[in-house]
């Protein structure tokens, strides 16, 4: 017969209300007649209630891993196992989902079956870094659960000082704004660095995130060390008839106040005939007007990505957003994807060799200065990396001319390349 349930007066209150209740789910598991996890979940509920009563957490870390890997498991041992013995081990397996988080119901059912056999029956879809979190395995079962998941085609994600699980937006799969193949980029990059993920040996965590356009639906700029954001170089595509339809629908005043006046670079101008001029040279690809007029406007056709490096959260020096390091990189041909991979490699190598222990790459850049970072990763300085040039006059400039020459040389080379190309075209 079922194990006696702990009193959970506080948690019970979280079963009320219209939103789906995780407590109800936990209880279902705790009372699952004859299931291996029922006892564990009963005590887990007990410990959680105890945390709610005492407003204190009772887990401590440790080391648990699967054969052949160093990371991917978040070990949890209870500090109140005396009271709640069956949940004394409650480890989480971080597992990478299909890129873009697409699932056939078959796949989901397989996950459930495996986790019912070897785990707690509790699965989080998904963690903030994009992992499927299989939460609640005993030390002994971790390997079993992994083996079966791995057989189905799943691999562990990242934890500790390692490459972390990545996320890519739905993008190409179901979004007209998408400027590159997110699935391909996501899988190409991560699968190229699996060793860094499975065998933590970096100074600290390193995250990639992939958004198909500047709307950044996976929060890449704030929340990843290496953000890949889709964009375009040519003119956006405009269907003036649809523009007129839109103006007709919302009215001129609304159009002016909500679209025209909202362009960050005043690149939009409403004509008296209700068509709209777009100053594409000064459009910064913010997406606003395109977002508002999905039928009338779309990104241009010469597409690629902008790469920002150094985003992270609050620890140690405070929140950082990524800084533009590569203003534009095409991402269509195999060579393009190789280029991206090579660059990612360069950055990770730099990070591995130069970051202090427990330092994120953004902190490293902060410490050594952007120009040293650029030199180290072999990227030429570009005005798109800054909001504006220096306002401080504290600067030693006796090598000004050499530095200026570098710029002029690069410009000349670009010009030459352009000419060559155009001649070849003739």
């Amino acid at each position: 017969m079922a194990k006696k349930q702990h009193k959970t007066d506080l948690l019970d209150q979280l079963e009320d209300g219209p939103w789906p209740s995780f407590v109800t789910g936990l209880k279902r598991l705790a009372t699952d007649e004859g299931k291996p996890y029922a006892g564990m979940m009963t005590d887990l509920l007990g410990q959680l209630e105890h945390s709610y009563e005492t407003r204190t957490g009772y887990w401590k870390g440790g080391t648990v891993s699967v054969y052949g890997y160093g990371g991917g498991i978040i070990p949890r041992f209870s500090e109140v196992a005396d009271k709640f013995p069956e949940s004394k081990e409650f480890h989480t397996l971080r597992v990478q989902p299909p890129a873009g988080m697409h699932y056939s119901t078959d796949l989901l059912r397989q996950m459930c079956d495996i986790w019912e056999r070897h785990g707690s029956g509790l699965i989080a879809l998904h963690g903030q870094s994009g992992d499927i979190m299989f939460q609640g395995a005993t030390t002994e079962n971790v390997q079993k659960a992994f083996d079966e998941l791995n057989e189905v085609g799943f691999d562990l994600g990242g934890a500790g000082p390692a490459l972390r699980t990545s996320m890519s937006c739905v993008g190409h799969a179901r979004c007209e704004q998408s400027c590159y193949d997110e699935v391909r980029a996501h899988r190409t990059i991560i699968n190229n660095f699996l060793d860094e993920m499975h065998r933590p040996a970096l100074p600290y965590k390193f995250k990639f995130k992939f958004s198909g356009c500047p709307n950044d639906c996976v929060n890449a700029i704030h929340r990843s060390d290496f953000a890949v954001i889709g964009t375009w170089r040519d003119d956006m595509q405009v269907d003036q008839e649809e523009v007129k339809n839109y103006v007709a629908k919302v009215g001129r005043k609304y159009m002016i106040d909500h679209v025209i006046a909202n362009c960050p670079t005043r690149s939009l101008s409403l004509n008296d005939d209700d068509t709209m001029d777009v100053d594409n040279k000064n459009c910064v690809r913010c997406m606003h007007c395109i977002n508002v007029m999905t039928k009338a406007l779309s990104p241009g056709k010469d597409r690629g990505v902008t790469i920002l490096i150094g985003g992270k959260r609050s620890l140690k020096i405070g929140d950082l957003m990524g800084t533009v390091i590569v203003p534009f990189m095409r991402l269509e041909t195999d060579e393009d994807f190789e280029k991206l991979t090579e660059f990612a490699e360069t950055v990770i190598d730099f990070f591995a060799e130069n970051a202090l222990e427990h330092e994120r790459v953004g902190e490293t850049i902060d410490r050594i200065g952007l120009s040293n970072f650029l030199e180290a990763v072999g990227v030429e300085v570009d005005p798109n990396m800054v909001n504006h040039p220096r306002t401080s006059s504290y600067l030693r400039t006796d090598d000004w001319d050499e530095e200026a020459q570098k710029w002029f040389r690069r410009k000349a080379e670009k010009r030459a390349a352009k000419q060559a190309a155009s001649q070849a075209a003739e």
């Binding site: 959680l48 887990w59 699932y103 903030q128 085609g153 190409h172 799969a173 007209e176 899988r187 499975h198």
Partner: protein
């Protein structure tokens, strides 16, 4: 004997290929979508260049799901949709269907089973939350519980699109902030420097590592009743909590001292304005499970001030930028104190060095 069998080597398969699991229409029109609109809250309608159309129904989940809930969602997908779903970056589930006719019955079924349909467009989507007491080793509060408590109160705003623009709420159960930035962020705020449990230090802590972790060098080695321990210079300590993960005896959490703070105006998108960090507006709120009513009050006050006063397309932070912070504190009746003045590196950039004044 089984003891002898040698352990299985992992197949380092990496990120799983999504195409075998992707809805056929999404696979067919991969990279070829033309435009989209929304039929109603929770329903997206995407049209491909080729003319194909797909309807997506989005529903909220508790994220932390038991296998039964997941199987129930699969049953729904098999019967009312087309055996394919996806999850969003905010742990909502999406069902794709190839005809508009399927939308209504699907929604009806989802709602019947208790899954709210919404989270699209100008709604309040699911709160992105973190582990907390359920699983983390350094939490100041809970994650899933706080999210559930709040979403119960924001149910209407999830299922309706009546906000000026999307609203993204996040919670973080310690000051590390796994929850990320948000239009509204509810984060643990340590109220005072860590109390050191000296008995533990000696055994569990690698002292030089802990000392190195402190951003303001407030931690010094010290001998405490004969044992090597650490001490914290309270004048210097900025209560960041960085010393706690590597050294649990650095007890920064207290059942009563750990408070909650509310931040607003975080933004990830590049639409109109550049991405921004959220800003502190309220702190010192009690950590009051299971429903954190004091927090919910403040969140709703801010949310409804935004709903009533902001213009279409303005995100929370953009709205406040326009109306000005004085007006924000007036509309929400929250206090503005010296603690709102930033004093971390680069704080000068946050000072108003202009005659632009909001009266």
């Amino acid at each position: 004997m089984s003891e002898a069998v040698q352990p299985r080597r992992p197949n380092e398969t990496g990120v799983m290929d999504p195409f075998p699991h992707m809805h056929p229409l999404l696979k067919k029109n991969y990279g070829d979508w033309k435009w989209h609109d929304r039929l109603r809250p929770g329903v997206l309608h995407h049209v491909a260049h080729g003319g194909d159309e797909v309807w997506t129904v989005r529903a909220g989940t508790q994220r932390q799901m038991d296998v039964h809930t997941i199987r129930l969602l699969c049953d729904i997908a098999d019967e009312y949709a087309e055996r394919h779903v996806r999850f969003t970056s905010r742990s909502n589930i999406e069902f794709m269907v190839s005809s508009e006719a399927q939308v209504a019955p699907l929604i009806e079924k989802l709602e019947a089973e208790g899954f709210p349909v919404g989270g699209t467009g100008n709604s309040v989507s699911m709160i992105s939350h973190t582990q907390g007491w359920l699983h983390c080793d350094i939490p100041g509060t809970d994650g899933s519980g706080a999210a559930k408590a709040l979403m119960d109160q924001l149910y209407y705003e999830f299922t309706h699109e009546e906000m000026p623009n999307r609203v993204r709420i996040t919670t973080s159960c310690c000051q590390i902030n796994c929850g990320g930035q948000g239009d509204i962020a509810i984060n643990v705020q340590y109220a005072k420097p860590p109390k050191i449990n000296h008995d533990l230090i000696a055994n569990v802590c690698e002292r030089p590592a802990v000392i190195a972790r402190c951003p303001v060098a407030a931690i010094r080695p010290a001998m405490v009743n004969g044992k090597p321990s650490l001490e914290v210079d309270e004048k210097k300590c900025i209560c960041c909590g960085a010393c706690y993960p590597p050294c649990p005896p650095m007890q920064i959490n207290g059942p009563d001292s750990t408070k909650l703070a509310i931040w607003v105006g975080g933004k990830h998108s590049n639409a109109r304005s550049k991405p921004t960090f959220h800003k502190l507006v309220m702190a010192g709120l009690p950590n009051n499970p299971p429903r954190w009513p004091e927090v919910a009050e403040v969140v709703k006050t801010i949310l409804y001030a935004y709903k009533e006063n902001a213009r279409d397309w303005e995100r929370m932070g953009e709205w406040i930028e326009r109306i000005g912070w004085p007006r924000f504190f007036e509309l929400t009746d929250l206090p503005f104190t010296k603690h709102h003045l930033d004093d971390w590196h680069g704080a000068r950039a946050s000072l108003n060095a202009s005659a632009h004044i909001h009266f």
